[in-house]
Symmetry: C2
Subunit: 246 residues, 2 copies
DNA sequence: TACAATATGTGTAAAAAATACACACTAACG
DNA sequence: CGTTAGTGTGTATTTTTTACACATATTGTA
């Protein structure tokens, strides 16, 4: 959490004292959830940040978070935060790591559980101006409030690792996408250039992409074929998982 | 946590009420740490469990855990628990996952952070009988108290994955080990048979094992060479980390 | 109306890695 | 001194990864 919203009072700034009271009400050690929400737009990996509503960090950006409620499952809290902020449901959301330094939050003892979420920016409009929410290019994310830089770095690294081993990336793309879009996504996330022919060969040989028989429109060049990821086929495959390599 | 020890009162059973009081003292939502401590002995992967001290789970085994203290870093709490139980310091310890279902603990709201630890069973003696601590073959671990079965399963799967990508396994072996011991370890953890020649080729070609020029003793067959893992060499290597595969 | 710009679609050869597989040797034990 | 159990080693085959070039399709513009 670290940015706490009691109800609809989103615009109002909280004082340290407000938050201390809230933590005391939640009694002793408080638990929060912070969401690192990734999107992909203009061939860049973006992360959704909000202006800190704490005076101490007035100039800084922070992750979206909130204290969990006393009877709320941890995962439910993460979904709630995501849903409140983006209006989205049924999105990719995964717990990444829990941060629990005793001094990490200025208002008291708050242990926070970081979640990583992947959403398709096209598929929804955030009420960005009202909430002081902004999409930031991940390359420009520095100096976040609290220990949010560490949390962000951890989640970004986890994403880089997991996207290579699991079909997560499709959550960031439209349902129908071209191989170029897919490659741009991987290159943006991994911050690396890849060989186009080998990339195509790799994904097509995996045999999880359904050729929709449609072409891109509105591109200023020869349109590429559109594909869809076939989750069912992926689920059925028995992955060989032994391969020592370090 | 879930098994709470106030101080040296290890033998005494706690009631649900005792624990509820403790949680109320720690005020509202409590946070615990549970440690999944792995060892390797007799060519089997073992996990260290303790008899539940909660009446409800009187017959069951559970993980080693405790509530974190109000001013204690999360990682420090995990080390503390490990150290209190095993007497070991400087052991491999890694956070794995946080479990936060609202109803997971019968005594109240307790969110628990699971840690995985790898220790060398030979290198120390636990005061097993006094504490009702026992090493269990991982294959026989079923029906633990609380949601500890889920926690254990999660940690075991994580270990299986990570041991293939990082040099963790050496924490479970003596400093000097033979390739056979190493292979037995991998086979035990992954529950799979591997080709001996290819296994040796793999590890020797990695070039992280130092041939100590010594031989095994006390084996009832031709002794194998002893090796040591060279962490410095490993750290220096720049790992290539791009390889899409799912 | 053609040409410049840009991205698509395709295949092969070479190198590297993973796999399958067998036999002579050594030490301990009885 | 034979039995038992595990060590130490190499090669051929298959699979995977890598590097690399040219004709084609569409849009925008001169």
């Amino acid at each position: 959490m670290d940015t706490i919203f009691s109800e609809k009072a989103a615009g109002r700034l909280k004082t340290l004292r407000n938050i201390q009271t809230e933590i005391q009400q939640s009694e002793g050690i408080a638990i929060s959830v912070d969401c690192v929400i990734f999107g992909f737009d203009e061939n860049k990996l973006k992360v959704l940040l909000i202006r800190s509503d704490l005076k101490k960090y007035i100039q800084k950006w922070s992750l979206l978070g909130d204290l969990i409620k006393i009877n709320e499952d941890l995962d439910d809290a993460a979904y709630r935060i995501l849903n409140e902020r983006t209006g989205l449901a049924n999105v990719y959301l995964e717990q990444v790591h829990t941060f629990g330094h005793a001094k990490r939050h200025p208002a008291g003892r708050v242990v926070t559980v970081a979640y990583c979420s992947l959403i398709n920016i096209q598929h929804h409009q955030l009420n960005i101006l009202e909430n002081e929410l902004h999409w930031h290019d991940v390359k420009s994310v520095t100096d976040l409030a609290f220990d949010h830089q560490e949390i962000f770095d951890t989640c970004y690294k986890r994403l880089q690792k997991r996207i290579q081993e699991h079909p997560l990336g499709f959550n960031l793309l439209p349902k129908k996408f071209s191989l170029r879009e897919l490659q741009n996504l991987y290159e943006a996330i991994l911050d690396a250039k890849m060989d186009r022919r080998n990339f195509r060969k790799k994904f097509l040989s995996m045999d999880f992409l359904t050729d929709l028989g449609e072409l891109e429109t509105d591109v200023p060049h020869r349109p590429g074929k559109l594909y869809q990821f076939n989750y069912k086929k992926y689920e059925k495959k028995d992955k060989k998982w032994i391969g020592i390599d370090f």
